[in-house]
């Protein structure tokens, strides 16, 4: 399962990096709020975004909103430094953490294939640090901009 952060998508849409378009990327609601019609001023930009395959994490069979919200509360308080309500920044990062927590520590393991690999593509150092702190060794963190 691949989760893509807004900063990577933005670079891709601007033509600054390449992504494998055969991949399917999973988005949380907070990510969609950042990404939905991202900029969307130039048609070239739109076309690039539309060339990608997205799925909503909430539509996935193992998604459990009750657990997700519990995780969300945990991480928004623990990693409060990466969130700014003033500029409404960092909420997508919290949603990524909350989702991954649900995947790597499923309450009901029969609902989720814990062997399935999780990869997060991001250039955000704060998010990378939080992901390492929470899920080191359990997920892959990928930064296409650095590569």
């Amino acid at each position: 399962m691949k989760i893509i952060d807004t900063n990577i998508l933005n670079k891709f849409a601007k033509g600054e990096i390449l992504l494998d378009l055969s991949e399917e990327f999973y988005l949380t609601e907070d990510l969609r709020n950042e990404i939905d019609n991202l900029g969307s001023i130039s048609s070239e930009y739109d076309t690039k975004i539309k060339s990608m395959k997205f799925s909503n994490i909430e539509d996935y069979h193992y998604f459990n909103e009750a657990i997700y919200l519990e995780n969300y509360k945990k991480f928004i308080n623990k990693h409060n430094k990466i969130v700014s309500f003033y500029g409404l920044k960092g909420l997508a990062d919290i949603s990524i953490l909350a989702c991954i927590e649900m995947m790597v520590k499923p309450t009901n393991p029969t609902l989720f294939d814990t062997n399935r690999s999780i990869e997060v593509s991001t250039h955000d150092s704060n998010l990378k640090d939080a992901l390492k702190e929470e899920f080191d060794g359990k997920i892959t963190i990928n930064d296409p901009i650095k590569q």
Partner: protein
């Protein structure tokens, strides 16, 4: 209180957090909203209910998940931003005598957020040269300086066929020549929260300045205060311009009494500058007291675009009339009708029109440039211009930028 996903209990929310958040804008009485009343009585709220109500009251639902300490830190940041922009006394005494209500901190916070974005887009070396430029200038020098600095053509200003057009001419000059953003209250397109008695609540909002070394903001209540007709807004605009020119940010008008203006040296000086721009002494010097009647005052009002009440006030300050004549010429006060105003603003302008008015031209252009250049994420742009996520309006908005 338990947060539920449908009927399934998810996580406990701290009631103290909910109460603190709902009381952050106490004048809005958010805790009296039926959704929260029900939630407190049931001891639970569903995630969908929380998201819906959060959108209506313009508070991100995620804030309700914070623990008390983290929430306090967030609110302290907002409070610190207020104190950075407003002297403490002004935040406390933003009351207008007889009305009993306060200038909305919600509007203040929104304007500070817009301003923070605008200034973040400008180099550190950028300064508003008008700020402080009126210090130590006498009335006539200050008047000449303002007119020259803003390239105001007074003849053009006075000969517009309505006070609204004259006001808009001044606003355009203040923004384009003065590099001072002018934002205005709007009651369209849900720019302000959809709460009970929204406009009853905001109608007492006064004009104010959000100070900044790069781009000061002037806020005019405009649509949200039916008491503020265009003539009064012209006066308010110029007065707040003088506040910036004098850097007298702690100056607040609690009551506009003759005695206060006459006796308060600073107040008098600032008032004299505005009066001299709008109704020069050269016009009133030759007036004979016996010629001053309602017809004359009405003629001056239309000719010079200054309110009837302000003319009487100026004439008394200039000793052309006394208190008795002022009172005899004063028109009976009409209670402004919200109903009429609602009809007037029922025009349903495009979302971009409402945003432009609420943000001001300078801010509107800066945000739009950032959106066009993908220099800002849509949710951040929406937070600045709408005060919340507005997926429904966002696509509409983008078509016009």
């Amino acid at each position: 209180m338990i947060l539920k996903s449908g009927i399934i209990s998810s996580v406990e929310l701290d009631n103290r957090v909910i109460e603190t958040l709902l009381n952050f804008y106490p004048e809005e009485k958010l805790s009296e909203h039926k959704v929260f009343k029900n939630a407190f009585s049931k001891g639970s709220i569903t995630f969908n209910e929380l998201k819906d109500i959060s959108e209506k009251i313009h508070l991100p639902w995620q804030m309700f998940l914070l623990n008390l300490n983290n929430l306090k830190k967030e609110l302290e940041n907002i409070e610190a931003n207020r104190l950075d922009k407003f002297p403490k006394n002004l935040l406390v005494i933003h009351k207008r005598k007889g009305k009993g209500e306060i200038t909305s901190k919600r509007i203040i916070d929104r304007q500070i957020r817009i301003q923070s974005f605008v200034t973040s887009q400008l180099p550190d070396s950028f300064v508003c040269n008008f700020s402080g430029s009126l210090k130590s200038k006498n009335v006539q020098d200050a008047v000449n300086y303002i007119i020259n600095y803003l390239s105001i053509d007074l003849e053009h200003f006075r000969t517009r066929d309505s006070a609204e057009k004259s006001k808009n001419y001044l606003i355009e000059k203040v923004q384009s020549q003065g590099n001072i953003n002018v934002s205005q209250g709007v009651r369209t397109n849900g720019i302000l929260p959809e709460i009970k008695n929204t406009f009853e609540l905001f109608k007492s909002t006064s004009g104010f300045v959000v100070k900044d070394k790069k781009i000061p903001f002037i806020f005019l209540p405009s649509e949200i205060n039916p008491d503020e007709n265009h003539f009064r807004q012209i006066y308010t605009l110029l007065y707040l311009l003088v506040v910036i020119g004098m850097e007298e940010y702690s100056h607040a008008i609690e009551s506009y009494s003759f005695k206060k203006v006459k006796d308060d040296k600073k107040f008098r000086h600032m008032n004299d500058i505005v009066s001299e721009i709008l109704l020069p002494r050269s016009v009133t010097d030759n007036l004979a007291t016996e010629d001053i009647n309602k017809n004359l005052v009405n003629r001056l009002k239309e000719q010079y675009k200054i309110s009837y009440t302000a003319i009487l006030f100026v004439l008394r300050l200039r000793k052309k009339i006394d208190k008795d004549i002022q009172e005899s010429l004063t028109l009976p006060q009409k209670e402004p009708s919200l109903f009429i105003e609602v009809k007037k603003w029922f025009a349903h302008p495009h979302i971009s029109t409402s945003v432009k008015k609420f943000c001001g031209d300078i801010a509107f252009n800066k945000v739009n440039t950032a959106i066009k250049n993908n220099a800002i994420y849509p949710n951040q742009a929406q937070m600045i211009i709408f005060g919340r996520f507005r997926k429904d309006k966002w696509n509409d908005y983008k078509t016009k930028i």
